[in-house]
């Protein structure tokens, strides 16, 4: 299970990580470009989101339709995402077509047309996306929770804010591109049935002459936990709870992960058992560990009809706090079993591996081997997990609710 990833950093700073995989016909890539929403100019949140659409509307010698046709003909299953730190471009296809697809992405990132005459259409499309998100309270809740639980600018909504869209201009998006879409700090992860030497030469050809741009660092703002209700005439009350945890790069990350796993790592985990199975309070309940480079939060969600919402919030908060009273060895063993099985199954997915190696490089500056992760998972004990829980107690909750009526948060805020 040891990783065979080869890593190569081009002279301009672009890092390429290639992990060849046996017994697969496909190959996948994950390209992380450090131009996410955290870099949106003040008062112009949505700039990165507009860029992620506009950048695909023609590049190099191809116009928008030709570019799309070229990628479709390569059978590329592609997706674009706007993250807090990165714009993400990922894709997968049969392995022998991947080099051609990477060459096209060279044009997209280095020579996009960013057509000014299509700017209004893209901004209008984004505005409608944000309006549709407001019509779905669960989606809206997670945006509002992230915004309040991370110090600024790390909670900046990735898809922007309706009231700021009118102030974004075509020129501003062009500036964002020139300032942030750059090789230094960009990461390209590739995994699947590929030859690393061939991929390296394709990448050198496509990205080798791409010039560096100096980096700018943002300064973190303050953060205080809040309790807030947003009125909505929804059927359910949507409840979001956030509290501090340690990020992926921290030495205690896996113990933090296990603590969340005991809460929400499967249908036998505590939140599902206590809130849904024993009390029938909700259909959907979960908690995940969400890590940015230097900040991490546990983000919990529950959706329930208004008259049962207070009880749902109370039980969920009490289960989170009850972790500190102890955990059973069997609870930890189930977390370990899930993690080990997931690690092995990840080796069947080129898309997952490409994403993992790129993410590892961003957070750690290296690629963890599957053996190493397995070792960390196996070495967890009830004592180490409890030590973590006591050293990082669940408190100072940020609680955001969307629904017909506000709720009371008891004992959560210190």
């Amino acid at each position: 299970m040891s990783s065979t990833a080869t890593i190569h950093t081009l002279d301009n700073g672009l890092t390429l990580i290639v992990e060849p995989m046996r017994d697969v016909r496909s190959a996948a890539f994950s390209f992380l470009v450090p131009a996410g929403s955290v870099h949106d100019p003040e008062g112009r949140n949505g700039t990165a989101a507009i860029l992620s659409d506009l950048i695909l509307r023609g590049a190099g010698s191809l116009d928008s339709r030709q570019l799309t046709a070229t990628l479709d003909n390569l059978g590329l299953q592609r997706s674009e995402s706007v993250g807090v730190k990165h714009l993400g471009f990922s894709g997968a296809t049969v392995a022998d077509r991947l080099p051609q697809a990477l060459a096209v992405y060279g044009d997209i990132l280095r020579e996009p047309h960013l057509p000014a005459d299509q700017f209004d259409a893209v901004r209008e499309g984004l505005e409608m996306t944000l309006r549709a998100m407001q019509d779905e309270p669960r989606q809206q809740l997670m945006v509002e929770l992230r915004r309040r639980c991370f110090p600024s600018p790390w909670g900046t909504p990735t898809y922007g804010q309706l009231e700021q869209l009118p102030d974004i201009s075509s020129t501003g998006v062009g500036d964002h591109y020139r300032r942030l879409v750059r090789p230094n700090g960009a990461i390209l992860g590739v995994a699947g049935g590929v030859d690393p030497d061939e991929i390296l030469s394709v990448v050198e050809e496509a990205f080798g002459g791409w010039g560096e741009v100096p980096e700018t660092e943002s300064v973190d703002g303050d953060h205080v936990p809040v309790v807030e209700h947003i009125a909505h005439d929804s059927t359910q009350t949507h409840i979001g709870i956030a509290y501090d945890a340690v990020p992926y790069r921290h030495e205690d990350y896996y113990t933090a992960w296990a603590a969340v796993g005991v809460l929400s790592g499967g249908m036998s985990a505590r939140l599902f058992t206590e809130v849904r199975e024993r009390r029938g309070l909700c259909y959907s309940i979960s908690a995940v560990l969400n890590s940015l480079p230097h900040h991490a939060r546990v983000l919990a969600y529950a959706g329930t009809t208004a008259e049962r919402a207070q009880e749902t919030l109370d039980v969920t908060l009490s289960e989170i706090q009850r972790l500190a009273e102890g955990i059973e060895p069997s609870e930890l063993e189930r977390c370990q079993a899930r993690a080990k099985s997931a690690l092995i199954m990840e080796q069947e997915s080129t898309i997952s591996r490409a994403g993992s190696v790129a993410r590892d490089w961003f957070h750690l500056g290296r690629v963890t081997t599957l053996d190493e992760v397995r070792g960390k998972i196996e070495s967890l004990t009830v004592d180490t997990v409890l030590e973590y829980i006591h050293a990082h107690p669940a408190r100072d909750f940020t609680v955001v609710t969307i629904g017909p009526e506000p709720l009371e948060v008891s004992g959560g805020i210190s």
Binding site: D72, L76, G125, T235, G265, M267, R308, A337, K340, E348
Partner: protein, 408 residues
């Protein structure tokens, strides 16, 4: 990749597509039952039963069931559609014996009264959750508008009223009628030994009750109605339309999949370039859905309320042109490349392959390999598409809308 098939003495069909190079194994039981098989007085019972499956039997409690699956590190779940209820898990190969035993436990739960009452609350919350998703509401409403006199038009989850009124006794009866070997197939994909599979299913599934309940697959009359769900505080308007399309066993069903991609995929389709790329609509999609005996073209439009009329006219104009002129060979080839690549990627993982294997068997009663699917997709011609359009033109016959508008 090798295919195996056997039928147990009790009539249970077992199929497997085994791959010694895989890291994992996936297995599932596909039961040919869903909301279309319900009568109005038990609307929602198929889906409710899927939840009750996890409540255990005389040997295992509900806690045991969840605990054991989690102890295996299984990636497991269940789902219910109009026509199929499926239970499935992907695990490491050494856990196949336990997971087959657990799947057999899921299929024949005790259906205890107190579990039933508790789970009813969860189902009512699930209905509430979907109520807050306008596209889901629009889908339920358009199915009702299109199939007003047919059970396909009923909600998979049932309604607050039908679920509240449901009794454990009526659920037990429905279960006894539908959970019979003639209505199901057990499928395995990935790394496993066929003899082991046969031994395990014999041990754990050999006592499943025999029998088969027939489904009425006659073509239901099309409603052609318009349903309006007004939500004054919504910002966007969501519109769905349905029109007749080929049934699941139709020889042109793959042509229909391709036409859906060419005309209505979310990126680089005709609707995308006419409505989404220029910023007229947030979404404008066409999808092909197939059922036993019938099928639908499903159009979805999401846009500002004030532009619904002009956008519906744009969609009609695209459909008129396609119905009249068909598609170009360039468009077809582009769609064939996309679908072929999607099939290869999905089939690479045992869990990705399981659904296609099981569902094909439920609808066609025979095996189709990945290569069969690839060959069929590659063999479709523009003439096939023309034939398809002559028989099933693109249209929006029945309509539902959710948003601020009071009428369309």
């Amino acid at each position: 990749m090798e295919f195996h098939e056997t039928t147990l003495e009790n009539g249970l069909t077992v199929i497997a597509e085994l791959n010694p190079a895989a890291q994992s194994v996936a297995t599932g039981i596909f039961v040919r039952t869903g909301s279309r098989d319900e009568t109005e007085d038990v609307s929602g019972v198929s889906h409710f039963l899927e939840h009750m499956a996890f409540k255990g039997n005389d040997v295992y409690t509900a806690d045991d069931v969840n605990r054991i699956f989690d102890e295996l590190g299984a990636n497991y779940n269940a789902s219910t559609s109009e026509e199929v209820t499926q239970f499935y898990a992907a695990i490491l190969p050494e856990y196949l014996p336990t997971v087959i035993e657990m799947l057999s436990t899921l299929l024949y739960p005790s259906l205890r009264q107190d579990d039933f009452e508790m789970e009813k609350k969860v189902i009512l919350e699930e209905i509430g959750m979907y109520d807050d998703q306008p596209t889901f509401t629009a889908y339920e409403q358009v199915m009702q508008a299109h199939f007003p006199t047919h059970p396909l038009g009923r909600k998979i989850l049932g309604t607050n009223d039908s679920v509240s009124a449901l009794t454990a006794e009526s659920m037990r009866q429905y279960h006894a009628d539908h959970y019979r070997t003639g209505n199901m197939v057990l499928a395995v994909t990935g790394r496993a030994n066929w003899d082991d599979v046969c031994g395990l299913v014999d041990e754990h599934c050999g006592d499943f009750p025999e029998g088969r309940i027939e489904r009425d697959t006659s073509v239901p009359p099309v409603g052609g109605q318009t349903e309006v769900v007004q939500r004054p505080s919504s910002l966007q308007q969501h519109v769905m339309q349905l029109a007749p399309a080929p049934a699941a066993d139709h020889r042109l069903r793959y042509a229909a999949e391709l036409l859906g991609v060419i005309v209505g995929d979310y990126s680089s389709s005709r609707l995308y370039w006419e409505l989404v790329d220029p910023g007229h609509a947030e979404s404008a999609d066409l999808a092909y859905n197939d059922y036993d005996g019938t099928g639908t073209w499903l159009t979805y439009l999401g846009c500002r309320p004030e532009t619904v009329a002009e956008n519906l006219e744009r969609i009609r104009s695209v459909y008129r042109q396609v119905n009249r002129e068909g598609v170009s060979s360039t468009e077809l080839e582009q769609a064939q490349n996309r679908i072929a690549s999607a099939i290869v990627l999905r089939s690479e993982r045992p869990m990705g392959r399981l659904g296609a294997l099981g569902i094909n068997w439920v609808y066609l009663g025979r095996y189709r390999s990945v290569q069969d699917d690839l060959d069929t997709v590659a063999g479709i011609t523009v003439d096939d598409i023309a034939q398809l359009l002559a028989e099933y033109p693109l249209d929006g016959v029945s309509t539902a809308t959710v948003g601020p508008l009071t009428s369309l």
